[in-house]
Subunit: 345 residues, 3 copies
C-alpha cells in the first residue's frame, strides 16, 4: 500500500454517521469514530487492555467505554477508569486521529497529526450550498483504491464500460480533454460544442448546445466534477476555457466522489450528485442517482475483474495511452508526496 | 499454536457422538473417532494409501474401512486388508490417539500416548450425578482457543459483554475474586454477601442473601463452576471460604465448559449447565441454557472481533489488570507445561 | 503445478461455447476464447492497456474490443485501434494460444505454439459418430487435477466410493485389470466372464455374460472408455484380449472424460457418455448420465475431502497398491514429458 498518509480520507457521509461508535478502516488501520458531546473523535479501534475493538463500546458522558472489560477513555485517548483497579498506567492511551466534518463528509487525517491542516480538504463545496439538491450513496470494492482512482482519472472508459447505461457514444473516447496539473491533483476541462446533448435519465436536447465539463481529482482520491449546458457559441466565446456558470441554460450539476483505501485490496467509494435548484428537482436527483448507482456497479464489475487478473499476473505492466495523462500525472503527484513523507521521517 | 499436548481435549459430548465414524480436529490434526464394538477408538483421519479421510469410512465388525479404495483397519491402526493385494506392508498403520469417555464428554489425548493418564481429566463430576439436571450445547469460534480461555478466566467481562443479558451490574467488575493456583489450573472464589440476588432468567430474590461462587480453570481449557445461595451470615460463618453446600437455600448450580483448539484460528466450545434437583427442574434448566446460549453468542461476537483486530496488529501487546491474575497465572502454567514437553522431547 | 504444457487441454464442450467471448482458466492462466467469423481464437485474458479481462469484451466484425477503454484486437492478438490515439505501439499484442474444436470439445494448447500438433489430441472419436447417442455434463473441483486423474486411473474405488450408487460389488476391486503403457498414456483391459451383469440404471441380465471393458488415460487427463456385453465364451474365444465389437449383444457404450487443471487447487471435469444406437436410446442415455452425475458427486466429495487432508499434512506420502499400477505409470509419463519440456527450454 503506497498511499499518501498526510491526507484527509473520507470515512463516512456526515449525515449517515451513527450516534453509536462507528467502526471504519483506512489504509488497513481499524478506526472508531465517535462523538464526545458534539465533538467528533477518532481513535485506533483497539483497547490497550486486550485489543478488543472500541467500536463495540458505549459512549458515557462524553467518554468511550470498552465493552469487553470496561476500560473508560476520555476523548484524547487516555484511559481514565479500569474497573476494580485504582492505578492506571501512564501508557494506557490509544492513538487518536485528527477528524473533522466538512462538505457533508467525515474526514480522518492518517499522517502526522501536527501536519493536519483542514485547508488540505478538497473543496467539495457544492454540497454546502442549499442552492444544490444533493443525493448520496456508497459502495465497497474488492479491489485496490488505486484502480478505482485510475478509473475516475480516465473518463474514456465511459464509452465502453457504460456503453449501455450512460449513453456516451464512441466520440466521447475519441476526444481528449485538457489536463492541468494542480499542487495536489489534476484538473480536466472539456467542451463539446454544437451537438445535441443526451444522457440516460438526463434531460435530452435535440437542438445543438455547448456542454462544459470540468473535473478535478485531488489527493488522496477525491473527484469534484461540474457540468453545465450552454447556448451554442458559448464555447467559442469563452475560448474553450471555463465559462460563466450563470449563463448556463440547463444541466448545471455537481458531483463529488471519494475513494478510500480500506485495506490493501479493499476500497470504499462514496459518491454524491447534485443539481442546481434552478435546473432540476428532487425527482430528477433521485432518477440520476439511481442511474449512477447502476453505472457504478458496471465499474465495480470491471475493476474487480481487473484486480483478479492482476493477482494472477506475475509481473504486471501497463501501456498508458493519451487518455492516461491524468492517471500518470496524478500517480506521479502521489508518488512524490509519498516519497517526501518517507524521506522526512 | 503453543498449546499443551500432554492433555485431554474434549472433542464431543458423549451422548451426541454419532454411531458412524466422526471427523474432528484438534490442534490442527484431523482425527476420526469411531467405536469398535463398544470400545472408543481415535485415529488420525488419513488413510495410509492416498490420505483420504477415514471419517468418510464405514465400520465393519469392529474394524474401519476406508471408503476410497477399501483399506481395512483394526482398532490399533493396522491395515488388515487391501483389496486385490495379498501383501500388506508392515508400515501400513495410522497413528492412534488415546480416547475415553468421562463426565459426559469424549476426550482425546494429544501428547505422548505413554503419558496418557485419565487422572489428568479435570473432575467435571457434577455431570455424572443424577442429582443434577444437566443441559448441554456447543458453538464454534473463528478465533484462537487462547482468547476464549482468557475470556473465561476473567469474569469481569460479565458486567460489560453481558450488560444487557446476564444482569450483573458494574459492581461485579469492581470486586476481585480470590485466585488460588493449582498444579494444572487456577481456582477462583468469591462471596457476595448481604445483597439481593438477581440474574436474567434466574430466580430473583429481594431479601439479602449470601452468594458463593467457585470456579476452576483446568489445563487445557476446562471451566468447572459451582454457585449456591445461602442465608445471610453464611459468608461470615465460613470466614469467606468454601461453605457447606448442603446448607444452601437455592441456586445450587454447576457448569462445566471446554474450549478445544481445532486449528490455529479456530476453537470449539462445549458448555453444559446443571441445577441440583432440590433447587430446580427441567424447565428451569432449559430456560437457563437458552439464556447462556444467547450470552455466549455475545462473547463470540466480541472475541471474533478481537481476533480480527489482533490479525491487523503488527506487534500486539496487552496491558493486564488486577482481573487478569487468573489469566496470567493460567498462561504461565500452560507455558511451563509446554516448555517442559519441548525440553523432554 | 507440475503439469505438462505441450498438451491439448479441454476448456469447453464445443456445443456449449457461447457466442460471446468466454473466460476460462488453464494452469492458472486466464484465457478468453472467442470466434472471429467462424474461426476459434484464444487469447490471454488480459488487455495490454491496464490488464482488464478481454472476456468482458465485445466482438466487432471479427475483432475483439476490450470494454474497459476500447482497445481493439485482431485475431492474431495485435491491437489495431486505441480510441483517441493515432500511434499504436508495436508491442501492443497479447499472447495467443493454439485452439481447435475436435470430438465435441474445444482444446487449447498450453505449450510452445510451434509444437502444437492436432495429432496429439486423444481420439475421443466415438463422439463424432452419429451411430452413438451422446450426452454431456461437467463439474468443478476444489482440488488438484492430479487427484482427479489418480481417481480415474484406479477404478477399484468404484466398489467403495460408489458402493451405493453404481452397484459394482467388492469383487470388482478384488480383480486387477491388465495395464498397458502407451506413448502418452495408459491402457486398461478387463474381461468379467460368465457372470450376470448389473449396474444401477443400466440394463440388468440374469443370465451369465462376458463383459469387456477397455479404457485409456491420455496426457494431459483424458479418459476414453469402451464397454460391451458379449455371449458367454467370447472372453475365452478372444483369449481375454480385445474382442470384435460387432459381436456384442448389448451395452455397447463409450465414455470420454477430461480433467483440466484450472489453477493449482482447482480443476474442471468434463464428462460425456454415449450408447450405440443399436443398443439404446435417448431415454437410456439420459438415465445413465443422471446416474453418472450422482456418482461423480460422490467422487467430488471424497477427493475434495482428500485435498483438505493433504493440505493439513506437513509431508504427505502415499502407499501405492497393485491397483495403482496405472497411476504410477501415468504419473511417470507426465513427469518424463514435463522434465523433457523443462530441459529443452
Amino acid at each position: 500500500m503506497n498511499y499518501v498518509r498526510n491526507a484527509w480520507y473520507v470515512v463516512s457521509w456526515a449525515d449517515s454517521l451513527a450516534e453509536a461508535p462507528t467502526a471504519t478502516m483506512v489504509l488497513g488501520e481499524p478506526i472508531v469514530v465517535w462523538r464526545s458531546g458534539g465533538e467528533l473523535v477518532a481513535f485506533e479501534d483497539r483497547c490497550v487492555h486486550r485489543l478488543a475493538p472500541l467500536s463495540r463500546g458505549r459512549c458515557e458522558d462524553g467518554k468511550l467505554r470498552c465493552m469487553y472489560h470496561g476500560f473508560l477513555y476520555e476523548p484524547r485517548g487516555t484511559v481514565v477508569q479500569i474497573p476494580g483497579q485504582q492505578n492506571i498506567p501512564a501508557i494506557a492511551k490509544v492513538r487518536t486521529y485528527p477528524v473533522t466534518s466538512k462538505h457533508g463528509w467525515i474526514w480522518v487525517w492518517m499522517g502526522d497529526p501536527a501536519l493536519a491542516d483542514e485547508k488540505l480538504i478538497p473543496p467539495a463545496d457544492g454540497f454546502d450550498d442549499p442552492a444544490w439538491i444533493r443525493g448520496e450513496s456508497q459502495m465497497d470494492y474488492d479491489a485496490e483504491a488505486r484502480l478505482v482512482n485510475e478509473n475516475l482519472l480516465d473518463f474514456s472508459h465511459i464509452s465502453f464500460v457504460h456503453a449501455e447505461s450512460l449513453g456516451a457514444g464512441m466520440d466521447y473516447a475519441e476526444t481528449v480533454p485538457d489536463v492541468i496539473a494542480m499542487p495536489r491533483g489534476v484538473r480536466f476541462e472539456r467542451w463539446t460544442a454544437g451537438k445535441p446533448f443526451s444522457r440516460t435519465s438526463f434531460k435530452a436536447t435535440t437542438d445543438p448546445v455547448d456542454v462544459w465539463q470540468a473535473y478535478e481529482y485531488h489527493v488522496p482520491g477525491i473527484l469534484l466534477s461540474r457540468r453545465a449546458v450552454f447556448p451554442p457559441g458559448t464555447a467559442a466565446e469563452f475560448k474553450l476555457k471555463c465559462p460563466d456558470y450563470s449563463r448556463a441554460i440547463s444541466e448545471v450539476t455537481f458531483s463529488a466522489q471519494a475513494v478510500t483505501p480500506t485495506s490493501e485490496f479493499g476500497a470504499r467509494y462514496f459518491f454524491g450528485w447534485a443539481i442546481h435548484r434552478d435546473h432540476g428537482d428532487e425527482a430528477r436527483r433521485d432518477r440520476t442517482l439511481a442511474a449512477l448507482e447502476r453505472a457504478f456497479l458496471e465499474d465495480k464489475v470491471m475493476i474487480e475483474a481487473q484486480q483478479r487478473i492482476l493477482n494472477l499476473t506475475p509481473s504486471p505492466s501497463v501501456m498508458p495511452t493519451v487518455h492516461d495523462r491524468g492517471v500518470v500525472l496524478f500517480n506521479k503527484i502521489v508518488e512524490e508526496l509519498r516519497n517526501q513523507e518517507l524521506t522526512e521521517k
